[in-house]
């Protein structure tokens, strides 16, 4: 993975001191809150429902053992014993004190981490495939491109006061494991007929109030024009994105209102101009970064079989281990979704354990997924049982990857001042219900996502089953959506009808699951059956 050189370190250190100074000025009174707010947001610090919340950046979800240990230390020293992994591959701490934030950031800087631009109207964490560098189906590792974009976007002088936030995802496989088309810019690294690598640009996707799937505006941008093209896309939006209404300011609105064709025309015009400015780093810089993403020293001659005599272990292998490009290896998913637990939360002890496991079993590397789990990307099949035993002992061994109880949930009204309803208790009740009724196995792949408000941080539009919490005259209410997908068959969920209370939504999810079980054909997932039979059978079951 990428390692800072003296320049990267100097920039992060300077940023810490900048924020230290800004915090001092705020506390002393020379900087008023309305001027301080965007500055603290650009250092990841929100004023949230209970306290300041800090969102630490985990670039494209990749971190090493030392960094995971540091995240655990932060939870212990500055917070209340746990952290929350997010749907953009970052981590959040809910109980931070402003006066301690600069020291916290200084601690992070020591392990090449930061909270730069994880909030605010600027370019946010660039996300990627959590199986990058391991999956057999990727063209190349997408992360060097994410890294070069990360550096380009950091402290960008023209793009730090954009109309709204800006989210970029980079993948390099036809299988989309990063919800690429639901980002402001989604990039897929592709190969042209001449065998050259380039970037396909998808611009104008997003969730939130008005979910949209990004159209492809350019199917092949040469890699030595990647930064220039991205700059053109953002500059066009910065100039024309709406400033009068924050609900209509995202680039997806601009692309939608201009039409993809006109937006593309403007970008290509700007792009032609920018090409003359020489802002692109040379290919040698990309090569330098790529050097950090070489394959680790995979062993050869390894066994491709694990001892499946323990049925619980066998279940975990089947569910949570993903095929690897190197023989004898898998990518193993550590579930942060124990039955009845809080999705995405990990305690100090669990984080320290995962750090050690990454070092011992996975070439000192782990990943945060947008589904709020942790991946050990390169694990020898022959060592899986040993690994699993340690995970099980720590409550991290739930074999539920992509099952109905592998729920994505935003923090919701328990933590978030934007929320209309609590999402975590709903997640807990659903996972408990399906543990009790024993249907989770039968249901197979079923991606359930819960958002506590229309901002959709739980990605409910992209759930096979989605749940949206709303406020109905001061009482929490939940809408059910069906048929969303975050993968390459991207689709947006449809609301079934009137909402339900907390118990009602749990029943509704079970009813929807039963409709699938009653109607499915060979090989169909929930999503496939829904797409085939449509909404009516579900409406019938739900509302009679």
């Amino acid at each position: 993975m990428y390692k800072y050189d003296q320049y990267d370190q100097a920039m992060v250190d300077a940023r810490v001191e900048e924020f230290r100074d800004q915090t001092r000025r705020r506390i002393e009174g020379s900087l008023p809150e309305e001027q301080f707010r965007p500055l603290r947001l650009m250092n990841g610090l929100y004023l949230q429902l209970h306290a300041y919340m800090l969102r630490v950046a985990i670039p494209y979800g990749t971190l090493n053992g030392a960094q995971m240990h540091a995240l655990a230390d932060i939870a212990e020293k500055y917070d209340r014993g746990y952290g929350h992994f997010t749907t953009r591959q970052n981590i959040q701490y809910n109980w931070i004190k402003l006066e301690e934030a600069p020291d916290l950031l200084a601690d992070l800087a020591k392990v090449e981490m930061h909270a730069i631009q994880t909030s605010g109207n600027c370019i946010r964490n660039i996300s990627s495939d959590h199986f990058a560098g391991a999956a057999a189906d990727e063209l190349v590792d997408p992360r060097p491109y994410a890294e070069i974009l990360r550096q380009w976007s950091s402290f960008h002088p023209e793009f730090s006061y954009l109309p709204r936030k800006f989210k970029i995802a980079v993948i390099a496989s036809d299988t989309d494991r990063a919800a690429m088309r639901l980002h402001d810019i989604g990039i897929q690294i592709v190969k042209n007929d001449a065998g050259e690598l380039g970037a396909a640009f998808y611009v104008g996707g997003g969730m939130g109030r008005t979910p949209m799937i990004a159209p492809c505006i350019n199917g092949f941008v040469p890699l030595d024009q990647l930064i220039t093209y991205t700059e053109a896309c953002v500059r066009v939006w910065n100039r024309y994105g709406r400033r009068d209404n924050k609900y209509k300011a995202r680039i997806k609105i601009l692309v939608h209102e201009l039409g993809a064709e006109e937006y593309t025309r403007q970008v290509e015009e700007e792009f032609a101009h920018m090409l003359e400015q020489g802002i692109e780093p040379p290919l040698a810089e990309l090569e330098r970064i790529r050097g950090y993403f070489q394959d680790p020293d995979f062993k050869t001659g390894l066994t491709d079989r694990a001892d499946r005599s323990d049925p619980e272990f066998a279940l975990w292998i089947d569910r949570n281990c993903h095929p690897h490009k190197a023989p004898g290896y898998v990518s193993a998913t550590i579930s942060l979704k124990p039955v009845g637990g809080i999705p995405g939360d990990a305690s100090v002890e669990q984080m320290h354990l995962m750090a050690d496991l990454a070092t011992e079993y996975s070439f000192d590397e782990c990943r945060v997924t947008h589904a709020q789990n942790i991946v050990l990307p390169h694990v020898e099949i022959g060592r899986l049982h040993e690994l699993w035993t340690k995970l099980e002992a720590a409550g991290l061994g739930t074999p539920n990857l992509d099952r109905i109880d592998d729920i994505i949930a935003c923090p919701g009204l328990d933590y978030c001042s934007l929320a209309n309803a609590r999402s975590i208790p709903v997640a807990q009740k659903i996972s408990e219900r399906f543990a009790a009724n024993g249907k989770a196995d039968e249901l197979g792949q079923l991606k359930l996502k819960i958002s506590g408000c229309i901002n959709a941080c739980g990605h409910h539009h992209a759930g096979h089953i989605g749940i949206l919490g709303v406020d109905r005259k001061g009482v929490e209410n939940y809408q059910l959506l069906l048929g969303g997908s975050e993968a390459e068959d991207t689709s947006l969920g449809k609301i079934t009808g009137p909402g339900f209370n907390e118990d009602g939504i749990v029943d509704a999810v079970e009813k929807a699951a039963d409709v699938y079980l009653a109607n499915r054909e060979e090989g169909e997932r929930f999503l496939d059956t829904y797409r085939r039979i449509g909404m009516d059978p579900f409406k019938e079951a739900l509302y009679g």
């Binding site: 320049y7 965007p38 402290f155 002088p157 023209e158 400015q277 802002i279």
Partner: protein, 150 residues
């Protein structure tokens, strides 16, 4: 009589140019394009700076207004003008604050007229804060990727 646009020279608190500060009569972008004898223009956030590009040869002074510091369109306006070869004074006016002034300078501004005068040592610290830059822009500073090549 046309409304007087533009800040008075006294309001320019910081200026990084060797030439004399001029006090030209300032007009809007629309007027500038129409009036062939205008030499100074004030750009508002909603204006398209590119409309000025055919007329750079008679442009001596540009003011870009930041009515609120959170509206970042002025950064693009400035950079577009510099990229096109404008070398005259490029002045940031309005809600110009300590914590954005360094970015403004990177985008090509060389004069600053904040609504509220700024603390000079804070501004000096702001300009000196970051030892390097990641992006190549119009300020002539070599970005990190250039320094890495030696």
């Amino acid at each position: 009589m046309a409304e007087e646009l533009g800040v008075s020279p006294d309001a320019v608190q910081f200026r990084f140019r060797d030439d004399e500060m001029a006090d030209h009569g300032m007009v809007t972008v629309d007027s500038f394009v129409e009036q062939s004898n205008a030499v100074a223009v004030r750009i508002e956030p909603g204006d398209d700076a590119r409309e000025l590009l055919p007329h750079l040869d008679r442009l001596a002074l540009v003011e870009v207004n930041f009515p609120t510091f959170g509206d970042g369109r002025g950064y693009s306006s400035a950079r577009i003008l510099r990229e096109a070869g404008y070398t005259g004074e490029l002045r940031a006016v309005g809600e110009v604050l300590v914590d954005q002034i360094a970015y403004m300078r990177r985008c090509g501004f060389d004069a600053f007229a904040p609504d509220t005068p700024l603390n000079e040592s804070d501004v000096e610290a702001a300009f000196a804060r970051f030892p390097h830059v990641y992006q190549k822009t119009v300020d002539g500073v070599a970005p990190i990727w250039k320094l890495r090549r030696g």
